[in-house]
């Protein structure tokens, strides 16, 4: 994705802003679920997985997914402190968090099996599935690989034997 009005680096900004927006909705979801007097979940079940009396397993999955997201957010904020390699490894946890969240939604979502919500879930899973398969088939494509290699060849100085 790039053009004179949309240079490539803005795509990474889009990635960050979309992620921040989902955080807002996730926070809304957790807070409203906890304060809802109907289920009376309590804050402990939002923090300790599988501690809820109510749909213990399915809710626990949601807690785990949210905590993985929290780890990703915290390490992103502390990236300068923990180093790039550690940050990157933890960022891959997104791939664990998302499917766990989807299963959590199917297992305990109030509207999980209503037509509109199920269709939405299927569409999301199909989109992510397609992206993952595409990535596996096409292989990782690093747009910086070529310029990086050319820069490196310019600053490489093998010591003389």
């Amino acid at each position: 994705m790039q053009s004179p009005g949309w240079p490539r680096f803005l795509t990474t900004s889009l990635h960050r802003n979309l992620a921040l927006m989902t955080l807002v909705f996730l926070a809304l979801h957790i807070v409203t679920a906890v304060v809802d007097p109907f289920t009376n979940l309590g804050w402990v079940s939002a923090i300790v997985p599988f501690s809820s009396y109510y749909r213990t397993f399915w809710l626990g999955l949601g807690t785990i997914a949210a905590e993985l997201v929290a780890a990703i957010v915290v390490t992103s904020l502390l990236r300068g402190l923990i180093g790039h390699a550690a940050w990157r490894v933890i960022h891959w946890l997104t791939y664990a968090s998302w499917p766990i969240g989807v299963v959590h939604g199917l297992g305990t979502g109030t509207d999980a099996w209503s037509a509109w919500f199920f269709a939405l879930t299927c569409a999301c899973v199909a989109a992510v599935g397609f992206a993952v398969v595409y990535r596996l088939v096409a292989g990782p494509r690093d747009p910086l690989a070529e310029p990086r290699a050319s820069f490196r060849s310019g600053v490489e100085r093998k010591p003389e034997p």
Binding site: F9, L81, R157
Partner: protein
């Protein structure tokens, strides 16, 4: 030419001062161990590579290791407008070696590396010749290593990366070089001018160092005056000397000059009238949101074009990205494209808005400070040359004259 302390002594055209001549002039290298760190703290000496970081604080962060530290004398000088490091190395190499040796002894380092820009031929020859003259065993084992001719090669982690993996590109921090640098050992990467000051402070003391300096500045500074002045080159001034006084040393000021670039390509453009009264001293400049950087003062005349010159420099900086971080590589390129369109085809509101918006988006998004430095430079240009940016004709003047003005 003004030559107060570092450049005092025989005429610079005579080339490198020999060891016996320096010993005759300044006395032998004094014995100074870890106590030198206190002296440096009292002197208030700050690094002269660009970041103006307090030297004593940097040394203390290395002082408590278990041995085997590395001292890198940084003479890469990749800044295109700067000449002061190569002038110093090619005329007073023994001051640099003295400073490196004092650092190695104070920090109990086991290795000294002289990291010299490969295209600085005279500096290279002078440093190699000076090394051969020295009797100290630490300097016998010292390595003279070529810094590739690229802007980022002088960044401290790039120097460490070259020594470790033969590639002079910056690496992500942490770890900082002072924590784990060359071969994992704590590493001091210190600019050669800073080391030369240390050689004199060890001889004459902190009080002597501070006896030079005006308007709150301490010691002397090497400044490279570039651009539209009668005699560009390196001058040594008391810290705190104003830009006006420095330009007078370089042959006088052109009252019609447009602006001054202070601190080099990671520095800032300042309107000429404002710049004249600025004291060249890190703390005072910080109050104005500026930095001394590597000590470049570049003048653009009334006939030069700030927009075209800025477009040329930002294009250069974009090309100097090591392409490790997307926002730096793609962001600087996009900024250079937008700035180039204004320079080449004339001002337009779309590109102006993009420059302002993207400059904010790129800042702080790289493993090193390369994108930040480039963007701060661009933002200073947008501010100082605001009238030119909003009404720029399609002329691309820097290209037409074939060379930069600042």
């Amino acid at each position: 030419m003004s030559r107060l302390r570092l450049l005092a002594g025989p005429d610079l055209s005579l080339g490198a001062e020999r060891l016996h001549a320096q010993v005759e002039r300044l006395g032998p290298l004094p014995v100074a161990g870890a106590a030198l760190i206190d002296t440096l703290e009292a002197s208030g000496l700050a690094g002269r590579g660009g970041a103006s970081f307090p030297v004593a604080r940097k040394w203390r962060s290395l002082a408590h290791h278990s041995g085997g530290a590395v001292v890198v004398a940084n003479g890469a000088e990749g800044e295109p407008q700067s000449l002061k490091d190569r002038v110093l190395m090619s005329t007073r190499p023994h001051l640099v070696l003295d400073g490196a040796l004092l650092a190695a002894r104070a920090l109990k380092a086991s290795q000294i590396v002289l990291y010299v820009g490969e295209e600085h031929r005279a500096a290279w020859t002078a440093m190699a010749g000076a090394l051969a003259e020295r009797p100290e065993p630490e300097l016998h084992r010292a390595r003279l290593v070529a810094a590739p001719h690229r802007y980022v090669a002088g960044e401290s982690s790039a120097a460490v990366h070259l020594l470790d993996a033969a590639i002079a590109s910056p690496t992500t921090k942490p770890p900082e070089p002072h924590a784990a640098g060359v071969g994992g050992a704590p590493t001091l990467v210190q600019n050669v001018e800073t080391l030369a000051h240390i050689a004199l402070i060890a001889r004459h003391g902190a009080g002597w160092f501070r006896s030079a300096g005006r308007r709150g500045g301490a010691g002397t500074v090497l400044i490279t005056v570039a651009g539209a002045v009668p005699s560009p080159g390196v001058v040594e001034i008391e810290a705190g000397t104003t830009v006006r006084e420095v330009l007078e040393l370089a042959g006088g000021t052109d009252p019609a000059a447009r602006a001054v670039l202070i601190g080099g390509y990671f520095g800032s453009w300042v309107d000429f009238a404002t710049a004249l009264e600025l004291p060249l001293e890190a703390a005072a400049l910080r109050e104005h949101g500026l930095g001394l950087g590597c000590g470049v003062v570049g003048v653009i005349s009334s006939r030069g074009c700030g927009v075209c010159e800025t477009a040329r420099i930002i294009r250069y900086l974009a090309g100097e990205s090591s392409a490790q971080c997307g926002p730096c590589f793609f962001g600087l390129r996009a900024l250079a494209d937008a700035c180039g369109r204004i320079a080449e085809r004339g001002s337009n509101p779309d590109d102006l808005a993009r420059l302002n918006r993207w400059a904010r988006d790129v800042r702080g998004r790289g493993a090193c400070r390369h994108p930040d430095g480039a963007v701060m430079f661009l933002q200073s240009a947008l501010q100082t040359f605001a009238p030119e940016f909003s009404s720029h004709p399609a002329h691309w003047r820097a290209h037409a004259t074939g060379r930069g003005v600042a």
